[in-house]
Symmetry: C2
Subunit: 188 residues, 2 copies
DNA sequence: ACCTGAACACCGTTCAAGT
DNA sequence: ACCTGAACACCGTTCAAGT
């Protein structure tokens, strides 16, 4: 697991996702990008689906790191929450195809290792929400549900934007606007 | 436009989406489902992408109708809002692949006719939000932004659920829970 | 006008064979 | 152990030809 060639392949797949989206990630384009024969990737990944799972695993850890930094760098919970949401939005905008792979694509395999990596960022997010509740900047209620709700709003706004569904007429012109409005109205 | 065979093809495509998701909708499977040669669909749709656009157009109108019914059948704005959100959730759960096609898929073409159909349900949704504001069951602020925010939350929760990202640990076990929590916390 | 079969350039994946 | 070329069963799409 995770030998050098394997990591090189996953990195190349991430690049293909950024450049041309899901459909650009063909096993053959990947092989060519790395400079091997069209079927060599099968030595390192069972199939296309588990290659994408490898990219997703890496990126979930990346987001965990970003959320941890947000929590550590801010002195107040409210600031930590805004930084975490900001990192989430920035990732979605910079890497739309990878974002969808992580948070939307229903074909992503449900392996235990990947599921654990997927839950990690959310758990950090919950801890930030708890801090806000202790500070009194978020209402007192079940923190997991509250975090889930805020997370769903951010995800929905990001997904609508990168899917091109957030025309001005929809009041979703800015993802930051949407999440800011939510946080403002949630203030107790 | 919209001859009999064309509508039969779009209906068959919707069925394929429901049964096997995006990847099951191949021009060849579609042709077989309707009983014509593998390239006959090209007489009615420019390509696969515009076939999917045809399905999306039909479903946007379906949702507009559902939202209009929600608005008409309820005597109070708050009830209308819950019915509209309920219809939105029910559609997403019953037709996940079609839901993603309408609200997530970035490859959906950006034709004017389709964009108009896509905005229609949201405009009805905004009017319901305005009614809630007049009743005092939603806070007074820019209604389009508020509607956009509620819509984003519902979409995010639905998308996470049909993508299999809403394990219990995420506090997103029930989409209805998430939207209910939002509406409860938004009550002025 | 509408449909057909053949064809082209792609795919993912497998397999026997090489070093 | 790792890579290769050939092959298979699929795709979307085009085109010349039929009625």
């Amino acid at each position: 697991m995770s030998g050098l060639t394997q990591r090189k392949l996953a990195a190349a797949a991430a690049r293909l996702l950024d450049q041309g989206g899901q459909e650009a990630v063909t096993m053959r384009a990947l092989a060519e990008a790395v400079g091997v024969s069209h079927n060599a990737p099968y030595r390192h990944f069972r199939d296309r689906s588990s290659l994408l799972a490898g990219v997703a695993f890496h990126d979930f850890e990346l987001l965990s790191k970003a959320f941890r930094s947000a929590a550590a760098d801010a002195t107040e919970g409210a600031a930590a929450l805004r930084r975490a949401i900001g990192a989430f939005i920035a990732y979605g905008r910079k890497h739309p195809a990878r974002y969808r792979l992580l948070f939307s694509d229903p074909s992503l395999p449900a392996e235990d290792e990947l599921k654990a990596a997927a839950i990690a960022p959310f758990e950090i997010f919950v801890r930030i929400v708890v801090r806000c509740q202790q500070e009194g900047t978020l209402p007192p209620c079940d923190p997991v549900r509250l975090a889930g709700m805020i997370f769903a709003t951010a995800h929905g706004a990001i997904d609508l934007e990168i899917g091109g569904r957030a025309s001005g007429a929809k009041g979703l012109s800015s993802v930051t606007d949407t999440t800011e409005l939510l946080l403002r109205l949630l203030k107790p």
